[in-house]
């Protein structure tokens, strides 16, 4: 796995010119296939390895059969592009996609985003009005608009996933946004075979989601990567994610989703935290920073560096974004800084940083984690 990654990375073009997406308008499928995938997705968490493989194959085969036997063009892709049209406000993208493509009810979407059903209903009505009045088409975008559009569609799906990921500790068991996002990711990865970023996104979501069972113990406390029981990681999802990532990387059109998936894959590859290949992860974050020079990416790169080199090196890297106002109110910044300070023996400063992180944490499991950290330092 890792060899494949390294070799794919070294062969990536510095500035790969995207090839023509000449073949994206061809798929055919039916609701039935989504429903099959939906069933498989909910079952596979419990299913043993072989069953999982068989179910996935069967679901794919079903979809292929439909595609080959009918001449009806696939309308799901047009639908997703309409829901994620840049002329609509960003909050409407996720709401419309979940409603029309995933078939969730307004009440379900409202509860997943922690807003009232009335407010969500208004948001959806306003968006539908704009689609009608402004003439937003129900078609795939023109090739001239394509590069802007497919990226925003992937961003919407990843946003839905992250919403589900961060809401992990909330008590909402009704809708699993992570599962919905993965379902959308499967559709996009299949319908956009010429855009490896779509496959990369699916791999990224699967590899992140695979670790979910280990992120939270029964006692409602967040468990950091370092402390996770890796036997709880979902090996089926990891295998599938890795295979998808390799498939994406071999297309030679790298991008931020593939790189983030590669980072997850390296984590999933390590038997335990100590065996993590931090040099690879640090290199991947550097690569990611070239695409997305954001403080959040630099924060993650600093964490990787703190394990690859030393907590001191990580702290030095963090100081580059210390003045950034958005970082000052960003919980992960303070939590990461606290961890590095602690490992660097700066106990007093570490306590301060943990306290700051605690004031910025809203979810119960995250708060419990930080309280335990603070208690441990004091003892």
């Amino acid at each position: 796995m890792q060899d494949a990654l390294t070799s794919a990375l070294s062969h990536w073009p510095q500035n790969g010119v995207p090839k023509n997406p000449e073949n994206w308008l061809f798929q055919v499928a039916k609701r039935k296939a989504i429903d099959r995938l939906r069933r498989v997705a909910t079952q596979h968490a419990k299913a043993p390895d072989v069953t999982y493989q068989l179910q996935m194959q069967e679901a794919m085969k079903d979809d292929i059969d439909i595609r080959e036997n009918q001449s009806v063009p696939d309308e799901r892709l047009s639908l997703i592009f309409t829901c994620c049209h840049p002329a609509l406000p960003a909050p409407a993208h996720t709401a419309l996609t979940l409603k029309t493509v995933c078939g969730l009810s307004t009440a379900q979407i409202a509860s997943a985003f922690l807003i009232s059903e009335t407010a969500m209903a208004q948001r959806i009505v306003r968006a539908k009005n704009k689609i009608k009045k402004a003439g937003i088409p129900f078609t795939l975008p023109d090739p001239s608009l394509w590069p802007e559009r497919w990226k925003s569609v992937l961003a919407v799906v990843y946003l839905i996933f992250n919403e589900g990921y961060s809401a992990l500790h909330s008590k909402n068991k009704d809708v699993d946004l992570c599962e919905e996002a993965i379902r959308l990711g499967r559709i996009l990865a299949r319908l956009l075979p010429k855009e490896p970023e779509a496959t990369g996104l699916l791999a990224l979501m699967l590899l992140s989601h695979a670790r979910r069972p280990a992120r939270q113990a029964e006692s409602d406390i967040f468990i950091a990567l370092k402390e996770q029981d890796r036997t709880l990681w979902d090996k089926n999802k990891i295998k599938e994610g890795q295979a998808l990532l390799i498939k994406a990387l071999t297309q030679g059109k790298p991008g931020p989703y593939q790189i983030q998936a590669a980072i997850c894959a390296v984590h999933c590859q390590a038997e335990n935290f100590e065996k993590t290949d931090w040099s690879e992860i640090t290199a991947l974050y550097e690569r990611l920073y070239a695409y997305e020079p954001s403080p959040v990416v630099l924060l993650n790169a600093s964490v990787a560096l703190s394990y690859f080199q030393s907590p001191k090196a990580g702290l030095a890297s963090l100081s580059l974004i210390a003045q950034n106002t958005s970082m000052q109110s960003y919980q992960p910044y303070h939590a990461a800084r606290a961890d590095m300070l602690l490992r660097n023996g700066q106990i007093k400063l570490a306590k301060q940083a943990y306290r700051k992180a605690l004031t910025l944490t809203v979810d119960e499991a995250g708060r419990n984690f930080l309280k335990v950290m603070l208690k441990n330092i004091s003892e």
Partner: protein, 117 residues
């Protein structure tokens, strides 16, 4: 569907007449005019005189007030427009992106109210 494409730009932005960039800039407009005409999408398109030539009129309680200047004093001013007829918003966006002023100003796309509905 009918759309108006409102061209907003700062008045000191863009190439000035006589500069080497001005020729290609205007040719961009001529090319777009031709394309809109060929596509059967063109209803009208005009450039406007400077903002300082603007006059704003209001009528309150039957009393007409006329003042010098545009309605809104902003850095970006309405500098011209296209009135087009095309299939959908994506087509309108594609035309708007071809307006040379989009490269330093911005184009607001507004669908025309259809009173028949």
């Amino acid at each position: 569907m009918k759309y108006i494409l409102l061209i907003y730009q700062a008045e000191d932005a863009g190439p000035t007449p006589g500069s080497p960039e001005f020729g290609p800039f205007m040719e961009g407009y001529f090319g777009l005019n031709q394309e809109l005409t060929n596509d059967g999408a063109m209803i009208a398109g005009e450039g406007l005189q400077d903002g300082e030539t603007a006059t704003t009129v209001t009528v309150r309680n039957g009393k007409t007030t006329t003042v010098d200047g545009p309605f809104a004093e902003t850095k970006e001013m309405l500098g011209g427009f296209y009135f087009i007829d095309c299939d959908n918003l994506d087509q309108a966006i594609a035309y708007a992106a071809k307006i040379p002023s989009a490269q330093f100003g911005s184009i607001e796309i507004r669908p025309i109210m259809d009173y028949g509905q």
